[in-house]
């Protein structure tokens, strides 16, 4: 009852937030914008209270609620009882609304944004919040009560009982909420014809915040897949991974195209177009995943009504976005940029990132379309995506390495580009010579990674030597490029130099793996509250050093599900990765061992990327204050 009352109240407030700005009496008055801001804050407060009530219900294992009975178990840890709130469809939708309304409130507090723009943006955000309020009230109610209270809950999907997955949804939904702000800002900017430098500056702040959260969300998801699934990979081009990548690619393109708007006031259509596309792609992903069109751990229970409602929301906002885009009028024609200028490079970068997003989208939805139109069922897996997108990614890396050496508006290339070019060629030849088994593109990528590193350091050094003041945002940009170089190096080395082997190991028997001498000390059977564990104790020795590995297998009788808990130990930048398999008929255990030579580079690089985004965000806030 309490939950429903709070939800209905906040829906009403969201409705007011959406309608009132269109009422002349309100929008024309001096108190109007203030009222809308207050409404946004009140909606956030109401929906937040509903959310905390749901958390309370989960934490106290109140099994009279259907949602609790289906997704929680009274014996599980408090952390996973709470994360169970967003480990299901209804609760996660509520979480998304909480974050959307909170971020709307924060936006309303931004005094530097002109009052009328703030009000219009809050109106668009109100429309988004209202449509999801209705979605929750009508078909995704998390507060449904049962007539009979069951004795025990079904428990959370064991794969989701994990620290990384506890924070993964809140982070991704924050990214999605920030995407909504970008969408609203783009639509309002287009409608008012105000795509000026001040607009670009405001967009930049919010884009950087959004980029940080999306990057972190994707990195956490990837890290989870690496240690939890036990397949030894970190990117599988699985449909849901692909969909999460789409807004990230488009937002990255947006970040770069905003620099052009800020510096030369050209390419004004690109930025709002990208912001609108990114949000619509996120809505499309939500529809594809939650309607059950794509099966995954994110799909939860499938309900056709849900899909239709989400499709309706997506169509409405697509129409609204298109209407805003058609408002765009080209201003006086500006001079076309020279092909070797920084504008041209940034524009090409935008086109390339957008193309990658388009290809990934086509590859992800093509099987669905084909199945609907012809009934033919095919899969589009990793080989398609790597074959088609890697050449585009390579072009992006080349642009990154060359970008410090081109100038705005001018047709002047810095001489240093020839050094980097020569270095890149040398690095490529050296890599092909050292890594004879590698395919050409892997060598190209590694050479590109080294070149980006060199180019960025060279650029910073050149500026420091000339005793020029380097702005914080320039450091942020350099750090972002360096961290991408690190990620590329980690990804390439891991993809082509990893070692995977499956062994049969007996109690007190030994095996040799990549210079390590491994012995199985024992396998313990342990009963945990609501699952059974089989934990292996393995010692890996190499010279003096010895590493303990404890991979586990868990059996969840409630879900009739077996999961493997990998054990991963770091050795410098490398990982030794162990997965326990099944016990075979002659007392041996199957043991899968992986050696990931440079995987830590990938996680370090991803962490630095988020840090760089945060630095850029701080810099963009500072820039506003000083003006």
């Amino acid at each position: 009852m309490i939950g429903m009352a709070l939800l209905s109240l906040s829906s009403f407030l969201a409705l007011l937030q959406f309608i009132l700005p269109s009422v002349k009496k309100v929008s024309g008055s001096a108190w109007g914008p203030k009222l809308i801001e207050t409404l946004a804050a009140a909606t956030a407060f109401m929906i937040g209270s509903a959310f905390f009530y749901l958390i309370y219900v989960f934490a106290s294992s109140d099994l009279s609620f259907l949602n609790v009975a289906l997704n929680s178990h009274s014996a599980s840890e408090l952390l996973y009882k709470i994360s169970g709130v967003w480990g299901n469809h209804e609760g996660s939708m509520l979480l998304w609304l909480v974050l959307l309304t909170s971020i709307s409130t924060v936006f309303g507090l931004q005094r530097r944004v002109p009052q009328n723009i703030r009000m219009r943006v809050l109106q668009v955000l109100g429309a988004i919040s209202l449509s999801f309020h209705l979605f929750i009230l009508l078909i995704s109610n998390p507060f449904v009560q049962l007539h009979q209270t069951p004795k025990q809950g079904m428990g959370l999907n064991p794969l989701l009982e994990d620290p990384a997955l506890t924070i993964h949804p809140p982070i991704l939904y924050t990214g999605l909420a920030l995407l909504s702000v970008l969408f609203a800002l783009a639509c309002v900017g287009l409608q008012r014809g105000q795509l000026d430098k001040a607009w670009a500056k405001l967009m930049r702040t919010w884009t950087l915040a959004c980029w940080c959260f999306l990057t972190l969300g994707i990195a956490l998801g990837s890290w989870w897949a690496y240690y939890e699934l036990g397949w030894g990979g970190w990117w599988f081009w699985d449909p849901v991974e692909n969909l999460s990548l789409l807004p990230w690619l488009v937002i990255t393109a947006l970040l770069h195209s905003l620099i052009v708007v800020q510096n030369s006031s050209s390419q004004k259509f690109t930025a709002p177009f990208l912001a609108i596309t990114a949000f619509l792609l996120a809505l499309l992903s939500l529809f594809l995943v939650r309607s059950g069109a794509l099966s995954s751990v994110h799909a939860f229970a499938v309900d056709p009504l849900r899909g239709s409602f989400l499709a309706l929301i997506a169509v409405c906002f697509t129409l609204y976005g298109l209407r805003s885009l058609f408002r765009f009028r080209t201003e006086k024609s500006f001079e076309q940029p020279y092909i070797l200028s920084r504008e041209a490079f940034l524009f090409l970068n935008t086109l390339l990132l957008f193309s990658i997003a388009a290809i990934v989208l086509i590859g992800t939805v093509y099987p669905l379309i084909l199945q609907i139109t012809t009934g033919r069922i095919i899969s589009v897996g990793a080989p398609y995506f790597s074959t088609t997108t890697l050449p585009f990614f390579l072009m992006v890396t080349i642009l990154m390495a060359a970008s410090p050496f081109v100038s705005w508006q001018q047709a002047r290339l810095s001489k240093s580009i020839s050094y980097v070019g020569t270095f890149a060629l040398a690095a490529f030849i050296a890599t092909t010579y050292v890594k004879t088994g590698w395919p050409v593109i892997a060598c190209l990528f590694l050479a590109a990674s080294f070149s980006i590193f060199l180019a960025t350091i060279l650029d910073l050094a050149r500026k420091l030597m000339a005793r020029k003041q380097i702005a914080l945002h320039y450091y942020a940009m350099s750090l972002a490029h360096l961290s991408i170089a690190i990620v590329i190096a980690g990804a390439v080395i891991d993809s082509f130099d990893k070692i995977e082997s499956v062994y049969e190991i007996k109690q007190s028997g030994a095996i040799e793996f990549n210079g390590y001498h491994l012995t199985l000390d024992k396998v313990d059977q342990i009963r945990a509250p609501y699952f059974q564990r089989e934990a292996a104790f393995i010692t890996a020795r190499k010279g003096e050093a010895s590493i303990q590995l404890n991979p586990e297998k868990r059996y969840y009788p409630l879900h009739e599900m077996i999961t493997s808990e990998t054990d991963i130990k770091a050795v410098g930048l490398a990982d030794i990765y162990a997965v326990l398999g099944t016990e075979d008929s002659h007392n041996g255990w199957l043991l899968k061992l992986h050696w990931h030579p440079a995987i830590r580079l990938l996680w370090i690089g991803a962490g630095l990327m988020v840090l760089a985004g945060f630095l850029g965000f701080v810099a963009s806030l500072r820039g506003v204050k000083s003006e």
């Binding site: 001079e335 092909i339 086109l351 095919i378 990793a382 074959t387 002047r412 590698w438 593109i441």
Partner: protein, 128 residues
């Protein structure tokens, strides 16, 4: 078209794909009982059975393509990671070329190619 796709695939995956027929097969076929997992990575009963079958078939001199066709016949096309090239997959494989063409077209149309000596005052340093 076939040749172009083959050439690009070769450049990207190169020798890593071609090293042995068994891995080539197990890395290009999904495990039918597990969600999105490749045969090579899976240790489910079905996957183990299929891997044994592959070994037997390779032993009896069957070609990679024949074995792939055998499994496609049993489990359907969805078992292949990489969809075959046919009229029904042309849009899929043409998409990247189309994107590349569009990029070239836009760049050629929107950019200037001649250097202009008396260009506007430099703003590079201003940006830094």
């Amino acid at each position: 078209m076939n040749r172009i796709v083959f050439l690009i695939t070769f450049l990207i995956h190169g020798t890593c794909v071609a090293n042995d027929e068994f891995t080539q097969l197990t890395k290009s076929i999904y495990c039918p009982s597990c969600q999105g997992q490749v045969l090579d990575e899976s240790s489910s009963p079905v996957a183990i059975e299929m891997k044994n079958q592959i070994q037997q078939m390779l032993g009896s001199g069957k070609s990679v393509e024949e074995i792939r066709q055998h499994f496609t016949a049993v489990y359907g096309e969805k078992i292949l990671l990489k969809p075959a090239l046919g009229t029904y997959t042309y849009p899929l494989w043409l998409a990247p070329f189309l994107m590349l063409g569009t990029i070239l077209f836009i760049m050629l149309n929107r950019m200037r190619f001649l250097k202009k000596r008396n260009s506007v005052k430099s703003t590079t340093e201003g940006h830094v």
